[in-house]
């Protein structure tokens, strides 16, 4: 395969089911390198499941996922992951710097402990998200937006090529939302591929250059200006979107 045709993420015929209930039906998705892609769809459309399937966290009933032509297991080091903020216990006894250093655990491998180098990388990442003043803050003492920034910093220290983010804008204030968008666009400018589960249809055209419309099956995917049409949206949401200009 030639470099020009190489896909950052290639999902083929992916079906995920819980018992006999399909959550994703025969999904095909090609994500070219260097795009900022939003996965959009109604609640229960399988957006989180799709991300988890790419990361090998749920086992597909059929189909295949490749990251730069190789299975995820071979590409762990180049994939960064931001889970939903609500998926962890923020009362866990740890502080901001410590959580960010967790992003280095994969590169460290088993048993080796984080040291000075990891600390420095974590500090740099915290500066990028504007949280350097909070290094020793206990994580339960942060606002929702600050927690989300910490999670982003944790993914940044992974120094990945492909980023998968599950609702990074969920429950954050307007300032944080702007800061996150700027950060995502910087990542894309650096040639990274960023895939974001997104809820707010109003901001898709402003923030993203690619979009995937998902509702258990793939409705459409591609550049925003081609794909993000009212016809496609009506098909995705079943005629329940009346907002489109």
């Amino acid at each position: 395969m030639q470099a020009a045709e190489q896909k950052a993420i290639q999902v083929t015929d992916l079906t995920v089911a819980y018992q006999d209930k399909p959550v994703l039906w025969d999904i095909d998705l090609d994500v070219p390198p260097g795009v900022l892609l939003a996965i959009v769809g109604p609640n229960g459309a399988g957006k989180t499941t799709l991300i988890k399937a790419v990361l090998g966290l749920v086992r597909p009933a059929a189909g295949n996922v490749l990251i730069y032509d190789k299975p995820y297991d071979a590409q762990r080091r180049i994939v960064g992951y931001v889970p939903q903020r609500g998926s962890v216990d923020w009362d866990f006894p740890t502080n901001v710097l410590d959580v960010v250093m967790m992003g280095r655990y994969g590169a460290l491998g088993w048993i080796r402990r984080p040291g000075k180098k990891e600390r420095e990388l974590a500090m740099q990442a915290l500066e990028k998200v504007g949280m350097e003043a909070y290094t020793t803050r206990q994580i339960s003492q942060l606002s929702g937006g600050q927690q989300q920034r910490v999670f982003l910093a944790r993914a940044l220290v992974q120094d990945a090529t492909v980023y998968l983010m599950d609702e990074p804008f969920q429950g954050v204030d307007a300032t944080t939302e702007r800061a996150i968008v700027t950060l995502l666009q910087e990542l894309r400018a650096d040639g990274k591929t960023v895939v974001v589960v997104h809820h707010d249809l109003q901001t898709v055209t402003d923030y993203f250059d690619w979009v995937m419309l998902l509702n258990i099956r793939r409705i459409a995917s591609g550049p925003v200006d081609e794909i993000f049409t009212s016809d496609n949206l009506r098909e995705t949401y079943g005629g329940r979107v009346a907002f489109m200009k």
Binding site: L55, Y81, P83, F92, P93, T94, Y105, G106
Partner: protein
């Protein structure tokens, strides 16, 4: 006799620390109930191994019990995965069944051997030093101490080696899995050690005390720190304090040692719960009380500020009538006035209450927010 005391004390401390260290991760994973389940469900494993070896101190007993412990965890998780039963009910279904199988086996086949229920549930620390390790005619100390000492070292090695993996698997299992740090392997490693610790401890201290020592010291330490490393150290220290103070109480009142240690575990938790700075009950009550007075003071200075320099100021700031303007209880009003005077937010001018510069700043700041 003094040596006997020392032996018992050492066994109690080593057991407490072994349980308290693992307990930290169980408490943070909300799995303390699982240790309760394991401590009961290992009985059939112990009984079956006893039939095979005819000895209560064989290492095979520990292995068989650890196997049953892990089996319990697997059963609970399988039941849970059907989504027809929640975790608490799955635990409630699994361990009594396994425990009962153990009880039936004992009553049917081992009616007259040393394997009685009281010893299983409450243990008898006082007898623990009687079973001694002897080699070449020398007395090397109680067997229990060696068993628990080995288990403590195992737990320490596991936690030190896999500290980072345990932390991430507990805080964010899906990231751990995505990074390839196998949280499931860590989970079952932890559960195996909980089973081994429980069976090692049950002969000496009984399963109730095991549960108390797994839940109590970590829950206490959790109130005192927000760093995992410190929580582990504090948990170990608190476990030891529980063991020593419980033994002291048992000695003074000539009562069950295991019972006293379990009781001290609760008492020390309650004590810390009350007095710990910042998040203790007393600190919270104080903070609430202070906030109440602060807020009342702010209302008072805002009231004075709003009418300051206006024609009605004289009536609005008359100390004797303040309670009517603010619709406060007169007693409460005079307390608030005293509080504000003490803080130099206001000062008295004949019958009036007037703002100081400080009070004016407070009012302005409060109104800006």
């Amino acid at each position: 006799m003094l040596e006997g005391h020392l032996d018992i004390l050492l066994i109690a401390i080593v057991t407490a620390v072994a349980c308290a260290l693992l307990g930290v991760f169980l408490v943070l994973r909300r799995m303390t109930l699982m240790s309760d389940a394991i401590s009961h469900a290992i009985l059939p494993g112990i009984v079956l191994a006893f039939f095979l070896t005819h000895s209560l101190s064989s290492p095979l007993l520990i292995l068989a019990a650890a196997g049953t412990g892990v089996l319990t965890v697997v059963c609970v998780e399988l039941l849970e995965r059907t989504k027809l039963v929640k975790e608490d009910a799955a635990i409630g279904l699994t361990f009594p069944a396994l425990f009962s199988i153990g009880v039936i086996l004992i009553s049917r086949f081992a009616g007259n051997v040393h394997l009685d229920m009281d010893a299983v549930l409450l243990g008898e620390l006082a007898y623990a030093p009687l079973n001694r390790l002897k080699a070449f005619g020398y007395d090397l100390g109680p067997v229990s101490l060696y068993v628990m000492g080995t288990i403590l070292v195992l737990n320490l090695v596991f936690i030190c080696l896999f500290y980072k993996e345990l932390k991430l698997a507990t805080f964010d299992a899906s990231l751990a899995a995505a990074l390839g740090l196998a949280p499931t392997v860590i989970h079952y490693g932890l559960m195996t050690l909980v089973s081994v610790t429980t069976v090692g401890a049950f002969d000496a201290v009984g399963s109730i005390l095991v549960v108390a020592l797994i839940a109590g010291p970590p829950a206490t330490a959790y109130l005192m720190t927000d760093r995992l490393s410190r929580m582990l150290i504090l948990s170990a220290i608190i476990g030891s304090v529980n063991a020593v103070s419980g033994y002291g109480v048992a000695f003074l009142f000539d009562v069950s040692i295991a019972g006293s240690i379990a009781t001290m575990t609760l008492l020390i938790f309650v004590l810390v719960f009350l007095v710990v700075p910042n998040r203790g009950l007393i600190a919270i009550a104080r903070r609430h009380a202070r906030q109440k007075w602060e807020f009342a003071q702010t209302m008072l200075v805002i009231h004075l500020f709003n009418h300051e320099g206006l024609p009605e100021a004289e009536t609005e700031s008359a100390i004797a009538d303040l309670h009517e303007h603010l619709s406060w209880d007169p007693g409460f009003t005079s307390q608030v006035v005293r509080y504000a005077l003490n803080n130099r937010c206001v000062s008295r001018k004949e019958t009036q209450l007037i703002l100081t510069a400080h009070g004016r700043t407070i009012a302005q700041q409060a109104l800006v927010q």
